[in-house]
């Protein structure tokens, strides 16, 4: 999809003084970044391990540098080699993508010390947000809500009093514990003291430490995050929120923008708090502030990701902006290209992460060889990938193979288009979650926007693969048979008049 239509007018004309940028990443994100670099007339340098020497990001880049490493992942985490590669190729800047070194303060620092531009925040911001406790405290200090909790205590009466102040439901657990021992959910004040007493005695019995801890229990939490950009001088804007509530094994599989059924006032409140945080941190470049949103409308700061997110395309789809271009412009020192008012959301976008995994076997990663790839194409679709026919899918890298992003006038349209596109996507040779994703999108609860991070578990049975309908299975058998040489020969090579006479017996 070309990202030209609805975005604010100014940015595309601004000159970015980079001639060459090294991408410290691989796979679909490296390819996606190269695409923008190309549009901007900037040369791209790829890095790769020997096992991926012919990978698509290497072929797409203007130059490539091989990184040595015991494992491919180790190679991509090697700060010294990557900085050396950038210097050797004469790159002006390094874009870290997501994952790997993208949130490594040491890397950002090393890049800067080498006299190169790190396309992202400064090392201090990364460090601040990279530490959960410092990030939480920082958020709390700047009026960004954090989940209330009562710190470990042995004084039960004091504990009960302070816990009551938080409100319900509350999760009570042993301060020293784990494994669910002494853990309980308390829904009213009446139960609180008893539960705390039991938890404490169990904690004492199991761990020899009777201290208990309480925090607000957010039931059916939603994962809402806000895309922000900061200029590093205290200026910040948001590009609206994304919802990433559908997760499996604590990882997102479906993201959308905007969030489903989010009241306007609440959205404004959440987005404003994210901008507040970014501004307070004098944050530079792209970042994402993640929140937990309860059914009661209360939301709490979770963490801030100081990089481009996997799911950034849904934001691009609704805003018409190219986030990588924005990153490069800000990294070039241009500041924010436009004000908040210029950012307008249009329609709805859904992203599905196509992963090499088996949803029927608890989403365990699958391996194989890409035998065939047929991708649906439409102006409202993006299929972000770096797949090649014959490419081995191994356990070396993340099981995410590609992202399918669909835009629609409204949420239903985006969902319908996503389901249709998933149906048309043919990725053979490795088991994927493609059909599972389509079942999630088509589930009435998903369509209703009744989302929470336990969605996959809650609807496990309804989302399980059904036996194919007989007629479809038979159609597939016919289609398969006619693709097999032996069967085609059986059908087509019978001479006349026998073929016409057919199965006659005398």
């Amino acid at each position: 999809m070309s990202l030209t239509s609805t975005g604010p007018a100014a940015p595309s004309s601004r000159h970015v003084p980079f001639r060459k940028v090294l991408i410290a990443n691989r796979g679909e994100i490296a390819c996606r970044i190269i695409r923008t670099l190309r549009e901007m007339g900037i040369a791209a340098v790829a890095v790769h391990h020997a096992v991926e020497a012919r990978a698509q990001h290497v072929r797409l880049a203007d130059e490539a540098v091989e990184l040595k490493g015991d494992t491919p992942v180790a190679a991509h985490l090697d700060v010294r080699q990557i900085v050396a590669a950038a210097l050797a190729t004469g790159a002006d800047a390094i874009h870290p993508g997501y994952g790997f070194l993208s949130e490594n303060a040491g890397f950002a620092r090393a890049v800067a010390e080498a006299g190169l531009v790190f396309v992202g925040p400064d090392a201090a911001s990364i460090a601040l947000m990279g530490d959960k406790i410092s990030a939480r405290n920082f958020a709390d200090q700047h009026g960004v809500p954090v989940a209330p909790s009562v710190m470990p205590t042995a004084d039960l009466a004091d504990f009960v009093r302070r816990a009551e102040a938080i409100g319900f439901p509350l999760l009570i657990k042993a301060a020293a514990g784990g494994g669910g021992k002494g853990m309980s959910i308390v829904r009213s004040a009446d139960e609180l003291e008893g539960a705390a007493r039991i938890a404490s005695s169990e904690a004492q019995r199991y761990f020899g430490d009777g201290r208990v801890y309480a925090e607000l229990f957010v039931e059916r939490p939603r994962h809402i995050e806000v895309q922000v950009f900061g200029d590093g001088e205290g200026g910040a804007i948001h590009l609206f929120e994304r919802e990433c509530s559908v997760q499996r094994r604590f990882q997102k599989i479906i993201e959308e923008a905007p969030a489903a059924n989010l009241p306007g006032a609440l959205r404004d409140e959440i987005c404003a708090s994210a901008v507040r945080l970014a501004a307070a941190a004098r944050y530079r470049n792209a970042g994402t502030v993640e929140y937990i949103l309860g059914a009661d409308g209360r939301f709490f700061f979770l963490e801030m990701n100081t990089r481009l997110q996997v799911e950034h395309p849904v934001t691009e789809m609704i805003t018409g902006l190219d986030l990588v271009r924005l990153q490069l412009e800000i990294a070039a020192g241009h500041g924010l290209p436009f004000g908040q008012d210029a950012v307008v959301a249009r329609g709805h976008a859904v992203e599905c992460r196509i992963c090499a995994e088996n949803p029927e076997r608890d989403f365990l990663p699958e391996t194989g060889t890409i035998q065939h790839l047929a991708v649906p194409e439409a102006s409202y679709l993006r299929f972000e990938n770096a797949l090649d026919r014959g490419q081995k899918v191994t356990a070396d890298f993340d099981p995410m193979l590609a992202k399918l992003v669909a835009h629609g006038a409204d949420r239903t349209a985006a969902i319908d288009r996503s389901i249709a596109a998933l149906g048309d996507l043919a990725l053979f040779g490795v088991t994927t979650n493609t059909d599972y994703l389509a079942r999630v999108l088509d589930h009435p609860a998903f369509r209703a926007g009744d989302l929470h991070t336990g969605f996959v578990v809650e609807h496990r049975d309804a989302l399980a693969a059904r036996e194919p309908e007989t007629g479809r299975l038979h159609a597939a058998l016919i289609a398969a048979a006619l693709g097999l040489r032996e069967f085609r020969s059986l059908v087509l090579d019978v001479p006349e008049p026998h073929a016409s006479i057919g199965a006659w017996r005398n």
């Binding site: 020969s489 059986l490 090579d493 019978v494 001479p495 006349e496 008049p497 026998h498 073929a499 016409s500 006479i501 057919g502 199965a503 006659w504 017996r505 005398n506």
Partner: protein, 535 residues
């Protein structure tokens, strides 16, 4: 080509009567056929099941391409021999499609005395291989036979057309480049061992397949050696040590799959280009044949009505429609293939004989296969006809027919009596295929005529001997002769003795001829020319 205008009234009492009669005959035929195919002593079927073997007919079904025809030949061979204990002469023969190629399939039947070869088994196998040679059709043998039926060895073993001929034909087939494949499912003992031995390719099933000249009991008796079937001639030994067989198979299905793959490697033989149109179903219902063929062999009927229910679109280009009218000649198409049809509409006269000879020459000239539809009581007899040279005119027809270079096919639609059988390409004239309908009768003369003739002879003897005629004795001769004739004249006796390639339901004639025609195209046309015609 114009459509024949049928004058049959399917609502007439006569039609209904004929129909009931012929349907009864066909039902009787189907019943006999069903029994020959499937009725076996339970112990034989149990033994097969214990050995995890398929029946020969199951093997054939698994071998053939799905959804293709199988023309079984001589399904009722030996039905009146050996007290009926060798159904289908313990061997199944037919023409079918394997891996897209026309082949002769020949299967031993282990449910009949362990697949033993009776005299008529040998005759049937020799005929199958003759068909393969004449039509250049590859052969797939499904072997599972205990060997010659020793009680009848004198009729199985020594003579020219007995068992030895099988191996002679196998050798010549190979020389001609016509391929043979043996799938060894069971034992191939004694002579039977040469079937895989003389095949170009052979597959043998582990555990049940075995090939040896003498089985373990014979070896024990001959040399005192104790040896197991497996060691003596099992799959492992023959495919890894002796090289007698080529491929070991893990199961019968596996053997069949290997066999199909082998056949798929064979080159498709060049067929000669017989003119072929797009096929068209007959306009008139072939089932009408039941109501057209009379319920009494003495009653005449118009063979054009039969042709109309056999050929494409019921279209027929009749040759010399007004001359020699007791022989209907003309061109038609069967499943698209152009044929020249000669059909009897009464006794053969001088003009009909000359017309027949001329039409045969025309067909030879324009490469059109001949189809003879027999319903013949003979050439006309009597002073007048002899004076006109009925014998030499009949001889011309026999000469033209015998020397034909195009393939010939004969269908015994009703009676076949006397020399008419010769002119109309009887069994002796090496037609590629000869089929008979259940109502068919064949003999030098009819039962009544024979009984009359012999009763007359008996009475004359009595007169010469003593003067008085014992009418009871004469009647007895008449009855016995008629009974013996009736039995031997019947289609079941003919087919039992392999005087034909099988009885067929009349409505199957069109398909049977099409498969036969197609098969015949694999062999090049014979050399042109005739002997000396007597003018």
């Amino acid at each position: 080509m114009r459509r024949i205008e049928s004058s049959i009234n399917t609502a007439s009492a006569e039609f209904r009567r004929n129909e009931a009669h012929n349907r009864r005959l066909v039902a009787e035929f189907r019943e006999k056929q069903e029994a020959a195919r499937h009725l076996r002593p339970p112990r034989d079927l149990d033994r097969l099941a214990r050995q995890k073997k398929l029946t020969p007919r199951q093997r054939i079904e698994k071998l053939l391409d799905p959804g293709t025809p199988f023309l079984e030949l001589s399904s009722l061979a030996a039905n009146m021999a050996y007290g009926g204990e060798a159904p289908s002469a313990s061997s199944i023969v037919g023409i079918g499609i394997v891996s897209g190629r026309e082949v002769v399939v020949r299967a031993d039947d282990p449910t009949v005395k362990g697949g033993a070869w009776y005299p008529l088994t040998a005759k049937k196998i020799v005929r199958a291989l003759d068909i393969a040679m004449e039509n250049r059709l590859p052969v797939v043998h499904l072997c599972d036979s205990a060997g010659g039926f020793l009680q009848l060895q004198s009729q199985v073993f020594p003579d020219r057309y007995m068992a030895g001929r099988i191996f002679r034909n196998q050798s010549l087939l190979s020389k001609m480049g016509v391929k043979q494949l043996s799938l060894v499912f069971g034992h191939c003992t004694a002579g039977g061992a040469y079937i895989p031995g003389l095949s170009d390719y052979s597959v043998i099933v582990r555990g049940t397949g075995a090939v040896f000249l003498g089985g373990p009991p014979l070896v024990k008796a001959a040399t005192g050696e104790d040896v197991s079937v497996e060691d003596l001639g099992g799959a492992e030994m023959h495919t890894s040590v002796s090289g007698t067989c080529d491929y070991p198979a893990d199961s019968e299905e596996h053997a069949i799959a290997i066999g199909r793959e082998i056949v798929s490697q064979w080159d498709r033989s060049e067929r000669w280009a017989l003119q072929r149109e797009a096929p068209e179903d007959p306009f008139y219902d072939p089932q009408d044949i039941y109501g057209i063929v009379p319920d009494d062999i003495k009653k005449a009927f118009d063979m054009r009505e039969i042709i109309a229910r056999m050929v494409d679109g019921s279209r027929f280009h009749e040759y010399q429609p007004n001359y020699g009218t007791t022989l209907v000649c003309g061109y038609a198409n069967i499943w698209g293939y152009k044929v020249g049809i000669l059909a009897n509409n009464g006794v053969l006269f001088n003009d009909s004989s000359l017309k027949g000879a001329h039409f045969i020459e025309l067909c030879n000239q324009n490469n059109t296969p001949l189809v003879f539809l027999q319903n013949i009581t003979g050439y006309m007899v009597g002073r007048e006809y002899e004076r006109r040279g009925i014998t030499k005119d009949g001889a011309k027809m026999i000469m033209a027919q015998s020397c034909s270079r195009v393939p010939k096919f004969t269908v015994m639609c009703n009676g076949s009596f006397g020399a008419g059988n010769y002119g109309m390409c009887g069994r002796a004239f090496d037609g590629r295929f000869l089929f008979a309908w259940p109502n068919h009768q064949i003999g030098v003369m009819g039962g009544d005529q024979a009984a009359n003739t012999l009763a007359e002879v008996k009475a004359n003897q009595m007169k010469r001997a003593g003067g008085t005629v014992d009418q009871a004795a004469v009647d007895q001769v008449w009855e016995e002769t008629r009974k013996a004739y009736q039995e031997q004249l019947s289609a079941y006796y003919s087919t039992s003795e392999l005087w034909d390639d099988g009885i067929i339901d009349p409505v199957d004639t069109r398909n049977a001829l099409a498969v036969a025609l197609s098969a015949s195209l694999n062999a090049p046309l014979g050399p042109p020319g005739y002997g000396v015609f007597r003018f």
